[in-house]
Each structure stands twice: as C-alpha cells, then as structure tokens.
C-alpha cells in the first residue's frame, strides 16, 4: 500500500461522490444513442426525464438516484489489510456529507444504524496482483435492479441457446422494475458464487470497450439486438430501447455444469475507480477487473 497525502478514506469519499453524481460518459452516450432511435412518445418522455436528471445531478452535485445502493468495492493490485477499515470509514463519512441514503439493515430485525455499515457491509472484493498500484473501484447497486438478479445452473446440453433463452427471459421478466434501459451483466461458468460475482464485475468495464473474445462479443451483440427488439422499452412502458449494453464474463466450470448468472443494472450504471500510484491518484469511471 502506497502512502499519499490524501488519505484512503478521503479517496473513498471522492469515489462515492463521483459515482453518485456523475454518470459515466460511455453510459451517457449510450442513452443518447437510445433516444435517437426511439420512436414511442412515452419512451421519449422517459429518456428525456433521465437525461434532464443526469444533468441536474451533476450540476447540483447531488446523487442522481435516491437509491444510492450498496457500494460494492473491488481492490486490485498492492494493498494491506488496513484498507478494509479505510473503506468502511470512507463509506460512513460519505453517508453523512454527500449525503447517501442509509440503506443497510439487519436482514431479520430490519434495524438500520444509519451509516451504511453493519455486518458484511460494504462488500469488498480483494484481487491481489503484482502491479505497482492500488486500484479501488466501486459499483453502486440499487435494490430495484439487484432484486432482479438470477442464477441458473443449466445443463451442458442446454448450450448457447439455453444461455441466450435464460438471459433474455430474465431481462424481460424483470420488466420495468430494474429501471431499464441499463447494462446487463452476464456471468457464465465458474462455481455458482463465482458466476454471480462475474455478472457484477462485467458491469465495471466501459460499455464502449469491446469484448476481446470473438464468440462472447457475438453473443453480446445477439442479446443486445434481441432484447432491444422485444418492445419492452424504458421503464417497461414500451419502446425500442430496453438495454444499453450486454457484457459477458466467463470462467472455466465443471464438465457437468453450465452456470449462468444475470445481473441487471438500471440506466444509472454508477461506477468509479481510483488508481493510486507513488505519484498520485487518478480517477476514472470504468475499470477492467
């Protein structure tokens, strides 16, 4: 872990402010492209309200959505165990000063301590590498979209057609509930838990960066066209823009398994990364995990 004048806690506050108040430019462009091909007037009213809101949020420095979600953290590179507490204190401070909505509760008693902390919160994924930097990324996941997450343990015989069917049905069955059009993250392979984790990680990379795997790239495009051709539209009210991008991540799996996970994001795909090196901190709004 490299020591800088700016504390890690402050970097976490900056990350949460950036992710909450400014829509990543790649997502903004995708929304504008969606509006350009939309023909339904109701759909246009929804996309117009979204873009108006994005501008106001950035201008006023306020969270673009009241559901500031659960911030899911990814720490990559070199780091030591103190970073866990730094992230926790950053979340607590950001909750007070940005402000964020206090969202975390005990699952049984539903008790809310008002600080977005509590057992297991926030979730932090650690990815140690030999790089000479520490990179902290955050993905804000609201409940409207998170509640639509689906996992299927398909049979290998179901193949690509089975994957395709499951992804399309998951998105269409969710309808307007996860605030479409958003980014759909798909995990294929791994163990059940890895599969779901991959489906979230897939949302972190900018949607204008192409999948390097040709087969996956073709599947992403196929799903993108099929879902947008469904007629579901913004907020499930009908129209031609139902998804901004489909991103797939894979890993090897058991020869007898074909796990597929679908994480549905809302239009407000909110992410931010900070790469910390010896010379300073560089902020961005997309990262490869």
């Amino acid at each position: 872990m490299i020591k800088l004048p700016e504390s890690t806690e402050q970097i976490v506050v900056n990350l949460l402010r950036l992710a909450n108040t400014k829509l990543p430019s790649d997502v903004g462009w995708a929304l504008e492209a969606a509006a350009a091909w939309e023909t339904s007037s109701i759909a246009m009213s929804q996309l117009g309200a979204i873009m108006d809101n994005v501008k106001k949020a950035e201008l006023l420095g306020r969270p673009m959505c009241q559901d500031t979600g659960i911030p899911v953290f990814y720490v990559k590179g070199k780091f030591d165990s103190s970073i866990r507490n730094d992230i926790r204190s950053g979340v607590k401070r950001a909750t007070e000063i940005i402000p964020l909505r206090p969202n975390t509760v005990d699952p049984i008693t539903r008790e809310n301590h008002g600080d977005n902390l509590g057992k297991g919160m926030p979730p932090i994924h650690f990815i140690p590498t030999d790089d000479d930097f520490t990179e902290i990324s955050v993905l804000l996941k609201g409940a409207g979209s998170e509640n639509m997450t689906r996992l299927a343990m398909l049979n290998p015989a179901d193949g690509q057609d089975g994957i395709r069917r499951f992804v399309i049905d998951s998105v269409l069955d969710a309808g307007g509930r996860p605030c479409p059009p958003g980014v759909v993250g798909v995990g294929i392979g791994g163990m059940a838990d890895d599969c779901i984790a991959m489906s979230k990680e897939a949302m972190l990379s900018p949607i204008d960066s192409e999948n390097k795997d040709e087969v996956l790239k073709a599947l992403e495009e196929d799903l993108f066209v099929a879902i947008n051709g469904s007629g579901m539209g913004p907020m499930g009210l009908g129209g031609s823009s139902s998804v901004l991008a489909v991103r797939i991540k894979t890993s090897y799996c058991h020869t007898a398994s074909l796990p597929v996970a679908v994480s549905i994001g809302c239009w407000a795909t909110r992410r931010a990364s900070a790469r910390i090196t010896e010379t300073g901190v560089e902020y961005s709004q997309g990262a490869e995990i």
Partner: protein
C-alpha cells in the same frame, strides 16, 4: 399540460392509459414498512395519520437533509411498486387512495382495487431523483422511527412529473399491454 391537484374520483376515472400528467398539491410517501404499519394500526384500531385518507401515495424513499430546522428533499425518485403488491389492495380500499405514483407497475388484484375505488397508477421515471426532488418541498414526516427511506413524508408537489398513466381505473395496464406483446426472440 394536464395538472392534477386534489383530484376527485371523477377526475381520476377520466384519465386514460398513456396520458402524461403532473401533480401540484399534497403527496405522501410510503414503502413496505409504512404500508405494513398503516394496515396494522387500522386492524388494531390505533390512530392512523389523517393524511393517508384519499391521498396521492408516492412509492418513494427519499434522501432528505435537515436545513435550518426544516427538511430539504435532496433526491426523491420512485421505488419498485411491485414490492407492495400484497399490501396495496387493502391500502386502496381502507384509505380510498386516489393515485399511486411508482415505477414498474402493480399486480392484477391491485388493479381490481383501483377499479373499484377509483384510483390510478402513475409511472414516474425511475432514477430521475434530482429532477423529481426539485418539484417537491417537505412538510415533515410521520413515523420517522422507520428510518429515512421508510418514513411517511408529507410533500408539497409543484408540477411533479412527467407521470404516465400506466394503470387506469378501468382495469387496464400499460405494463400488461407491453408484456402481452413482447417479442421473445
């Protein structure tokens, strides 16, 4: 621009699917916990805030900040209405709700209660929290112990919208129409 302000049953029944409306007037918020408490108090014969009766109920858990002794609405977009499906028919019938603002739509039995009482479902744009907050001022809250998101906030709306009539008071639902014609390629 169609503006609803203290709508009567007749006003509500005249709204059609796809109409775009704005609200100027009183709106209360309520999510899962507010619904559960309102219905529980009613069952137990306890007093329920009078604002609920004949109200416009907004499925919203806002971000609020305390400023100069008053409350400021920071962000206030709609939450997913389907979570309240099992509670809403009772709410509509017990309190005579006139309109529900939310996102994603509600179930067929809620639609039936809406038809019976004369109530509509208005779709607000999910996530448009700052634009919608700019149309709202707060007049305090009931049941603040439920937490910021779950409390029942009393809002005064000034041209709150655009809101799409997505479920009317004749049993029609735009969501159902869209769902029925989905192309599952």
């Amino acid at each position: 621009m169609k503006i609803l302000s203290k709508p009567t049953e007749k006003d509500i029944r005249s709204l059609e699917l796809g109409d775009v409306v704005y609200i100027t007037g009183d709106v209360i918020t309520g999510r899962d916990e507010m619904h559960m408490r309102a219905l529980k108090y009613l069952r137990e014969g306890k007093e329920v805030p009078s604002d609920i009766y004949n109200s416009i109920l907004y499925h919203c858990g806002p971000i609020m900040s305390k400023k100069n002794g008053g409350w400021k609405v920071v962000a206030a977009g709609p939450t997913t209405s389907a979570r309240m499906n099992s509670l809403e028919s009772d709410m509509i019938r017990s309190f005579g709700l006139r309109a529900i603002i939310g996102k994603g739509g509600m179930s067929a039995d809620v639609s039936a209660a809406m038809e019976e009482i004369g109530c509509v479902y208005l779709a607000a744009t999910g996530g448009a929290a700052v634009s919608l907050a700019e149309c709202l001022s707060a007049d305090g809250a009931e049941w603040e112990d439920l937490g910021m998101a779950e409390a029942m906030w009393r809002f005064r709306a000034e041209r709150l919208g655009p809101l799409v009539v997505a479920m009317d008071s004749c049993g029609n639902s735009l969501y159902e129409n869209v769902r029925a014609s989905l192309r599952r390629a």
